[in-house]
Amino acid sequence: MSNYIEPLSFDPWQAIVKHQQQADIATKFGATATFIGSMRDFNENVDVSLMYLEHYPAMTQGYLDKLEQQAKQRWNLLDTLIIHRVGEINPADPIVLIACWSAHRRAALDACSWLIEELKHQAPFWKKETTKNGERWVAKNTDGL
C-alpha cells in the first residue's frame, strides 16, 4: 500500500509501472484496475483555464492511509497506490491516480471504484478554478454520471 500527495505534474502510467516493479508482486497479480482523474477545461458550462488544489495535509494523509487499509480489509488485494495532486494544475493534467492489484479482476475493479468514491467524499481537498470571469471555488463534486 502506498499513497502520497504530489505537488508537481506527474505521469500516472509511469507511476503504475514503477510501483508494480518495486512492490514485488510481479507474477502474483492477474488484474490491475486503475482510475485516473484529469482536469477538464470546462465546468458547469464555463471554460476553465487553471485550477488550484488546496488540502489539509495531516488530515488528508490520515484519510488516504485509512481508505487504503479499509480497501485491503474488504477486498483480497495484493497492493494499492494512490497519488493526488495539489497546487496549480493545468487542463489535461492528471489530478488523481488510484491503482489496485489483485489476483483476479473483481477485487481490483471493485476496490478501485470504491476508493475513488470514498476519496471524493472524505479526503479534504478543495478545488479553485480560474475562469474568464475570475476565480471561483468548486462548491461540490459532480455526481460522477
Binding site: 488540502h55 489539509y56 489530478i95 478543495w126
Partner: protein, 75 residues
C-alpha cells in the same frame, strides 16, 4: 495549552482567518463562535477535531486541533 483552530478554502476567505489559537471553550460550536466572533455559520460547514470528522456539539479539549472547511471537492 490552547486550542488550535484552522479554516480552509472558501471558508478561510469568507471568515478572513487561516489559523488562530483560542482558550476556554468546550465544544466545536463554541470554537466557531469564539474564533469568528459569532459569524453566521453556513449550513454546509464541516468540522474536524484532531484530523477526524466531528459534530458541532463534539467536545474539545486543551491541545486539540479544530478545523472548519466547506464540502470537499478532491479527486
Amino acid at each position: 495549552m490552547s486550542i488550535q483552530v484552522k479554516f480552509f478554502a472558501s471558508l478561510r476567505e469568507t471568515v478572513g482567518i487561516g489559523d488562530i489559537n483560542i482558550n476556554h471553550v468546550s465544544s466545536a460550536g463554541e470554537v466557531w463562535d469564539l474564533a469568528t466572533d459569532k459569524a453566521e455559520r453556513p449550513l454546509n460547514v464541516l468540522v474536524a477535531i484532531n484530523l477526524e470528522y466531528a459534530q458541532f456539539d463534539s467536545l474539545v479539549n486543551d491541545g486539540d486541533e479544530v478545523a472548519f472547511f466547506p464540502p470537499v471537492t478532491g479527486g
